[in-house]
């Protein structure tokens, strides 16, 4: 019969329309915006009917650990006992070399007394207009000092004054990294052999070895 195909299509549309309301009924009285309800509404489960709407900004989808947006620099916690706020970056320059659009700018630190390079950046900039959020800098930093952030709400009114992030703007405490990426940061700590900076751990191991030797010799 001519028109049957069209009617069938209309049927599908009607089903979708109704499903969305039926879905709402499941959360009647229990609230649609709780985490449990959200998980049900957004899951890959085939039990779920209806459409996928998330009512931004009243509710947002929490991003997964690996989500990558503009990088930040890891610094020691500000209440740490040793070197509070010390930046983890050693200004080795690998991230600046690997960055595809070349939006990382680093001025390597120099020791004022000897004039030799020291493992700390004097200045560190990221031009976030140019950053393509590829994550390669974080992937290849040998010191776990640069990480991809999760905060994507960065809109501002003035490009020229706000969009080149300097060292202060980029620095975030290590505890922040642990909070947004609990699994990854734990894996990295395991690979480094502790929760501290790679160099600190190295120093400690060296100190322990000399102490061992000293006790062994006596």
């Amino acid at each position: 019969m001519y028109g049957l195909g069209i009617l069938k299509g209309m049927g599908v549309t009607l089903k979708h329309f109704l499903d969305t309301y039926i879905e709402d009924l499941r959360f009647l009285g229990k609230g649609k915006r709780t985490d449990v309800a959200f998980n049900l509404r957004q899951s890959g489960s085939n039990q779920r009917l209806g459409l996928f709407t998330v009512e931004y900004p009243e509710e947002k989808i929490a991003v997964p650990e690996r989500f990558r947006f503009i990088p930040f620099l890891v610094i020691n916690n500000l209440d740490a006992e040793e070197d509070p706020g010390k930046i983890w970056c050693t200004s080795c320059g690998i991230c600046a070399k690997v960055c595809p659009p070349q939006c990382i700018w680093i001025v390597r630190g120099t020791d004022p007394e000897t004039g030799r390079p020291k493992p700390e950046p004097e200045e560190f900039y990221i031009d976030i207009d140019i950053c393509m959020n590829c994550g390669l800098c974080a992937e290849f930093c040998p010191f776990d000092a640069i990480k991809m952030d999760h905060d994507y709400e960065l809109a501002s009114y003035d490009r020229t004054t706000h969009h080149i992030f300097d060292k202060a703007r980029l620095s975030k405490e290590f505890r922040y990294w642990r909070s947004i990426a609990p699994t990854i940061s734990a894996e990295e700590a395991e690979a480094r052999g502790g929760w501290e900076h790679k160099d600190v751990l190295k120093e400690k191991a060296k100190a322990a070895r000399t102490a061992d030797k000293a006790t062994g010799a006596s």
Binding site: Y2, L4, G5, I6, K8, G9, V12, H16, R33, D35, F38, N39, Q42, S43, G44, S45, N46, L51, F52, V54, E58, K60, I61, A62, V63, P64, E65, R66, F67, R68, S91, G93, I94, K97, V98, C99, P100, Q102, I104, W105, I106, V107, R108, E123, Y125, D127, M132, C134, G135, L136, E139, F140, M148, H150, D151, I164, S179, I180, A181, T183
Partner: protein, 618 residues
Amino acid sequence: MAENPAAEVTTANPVAEAIAALKAQFPDAVTEDDRKGYTGIVVDPESLVEVATAVRDTLGYNYLSSATAVDYLGKGDYFEMVYHTYRVPAGGPPLVIKARTPRDKATLPSVISVWPGADFQEREAYDLMGIRFEGHPNLKRILLWEGFDGHPLRKDWKEAYYEQDQKPFDSRWPQGHVHRAEERNPYGKNVRYPEGFTLDDFTPVGEAPNYEGIDLGVNVQEMTTPGLKTDRLVVNLGPHHPSTHGVFRMVVTLNGETVEDLQPVMGYLHRNHEKIGERNTFLQNMPFTDRLDYITSMSNNLGYALAVERLLSLGPRYQPPTYRAEVIRVLMVELTRVVSHMWAIGFLLNDLGAFYTPALYAIAERELILDFFEAVAGSRMMCNYMRFGGVFKDLPERIQGIPLLANDRVRNEATLDYLANIINERLPRAIDELDNYLTNNEIIVTRCQGVGILPPEMAIAYSAAGPLLRASGVPYDVRRAEPYSIYPELDFDVAVRYNGDIYDRYLLRIDEMRQSVRILKQLLPRLRETEGQPIISGSKAYSPRVPEGEAYGRVENPKGELGYYVVSDGGQNPWRYHVRAPSYINLTALGPMTKGHKVADIVAILGSIDIILGEVDR
């Protein structure tokens, strides 16, 4: 293809035999390319067309996949045109043909008479590299505008905010005092004018070249129906038009409502991806490939990884990707295929006038797949997931959100359950629903059947690829014709349909999604078996040493054959990086397909090719 004598010859090394045959037939014109890491033959330009005809007719290499130019400045100082030809539908490796021309008077004969699919590719080489093709009927710029000064892919051409030939730039470290390119090099001062240029005697070229050869103006004549006088009318569809899915323009000559001629005009999104690619290091290109066909970034990544791995395999310490890496790669690529076909079908409906409702149903499942990509690769669309020798990271155990912003809602599911659910339940259900919803819809049937027909011989001649080729009855799929990754061990059929119209392209996409689901189902047990195995071979290096040579890596992208031609000179950066973009080359057939149809059909035919401008314009 029974009349093709060469297709029956099955030998261990068909290419070597073809080369031997050509050398015997053209002893003076054909030499083997014996540079280290290179393959194929170098042909004397004088005999190029003759040799190409023999390659097509006697040897059966009837399909020109890619034609592109390389500038060997400082390495012999010539341009080299590289043609990759294949046997379709027989399959097998390519016969690579090269022809050289001096840099100062770059001219080569056009092979358009042998492979009409060379049309846009030669125009591109003319536009970007400045090689003139004698015998090309329409040799105009294609990606840049008429009047552009210079040919940007030449090695000595410098872009407006030029800083240095190759990345990494020295100004970034260790004395990286930040500045914006436009501060140091303000707008207006960054433009190089041609020698002797003055504004006074400058006449802009304007739009005229787009209408060249078109009979413009009032010219009432008896056209089709005797006694009825009609006028030829030129209409511009686009560049801003919802049907073009981006910024794309068609200059259409109409007789009444009937299309007499259609000229695509493109390049509005051109950014010279290939020049950027040559400034980049090998690894830095990976995230840029995401931005070609931005619906299918995972498979763009794979194609590039294959090309560079092929180059790396010329070196001494090459290790192929691990098995788990291959399983994950295929998983990602097949999910991408479903996403892309869903998108294509949804938006075809849009083009037919069913505004947005069906499109949204078609892309609903896509959200789930993108959520998965986001959890695995860190981004929904710009995945940047493949690496040379493997992938970026293994699948996470759980698809889990981490609350950070106000009002963040968390979801938390085991990855494998999530995947199994999508693959076993949701995708088949969604495909069936689409099928149920659309296939017998009378409007779709009337609008699509018998419209935009592309016969098989024409599809091959125009180098059409992917669904466009297979819906015309040519069972050619790179996954089977020149298998890569773990496709040989997977069970699936090459979908093929025979009418070559819009309707068959739609049906073919449905078939192909079903085959993808079939592949995905076979991957689930493999994922479980290989759990915990390494996902990358060797150590991860940010600047791998890539041996000298050339490689052509191609994959069956959802839109068609996506190829990367990469030349390495042994340095950190590719010497040449060319993308054979399926959407771009599929457009070659658009003009012929639309001829004789009504204006409204153009939109549907374009929709059935399924182009993405990010890839067309590059």
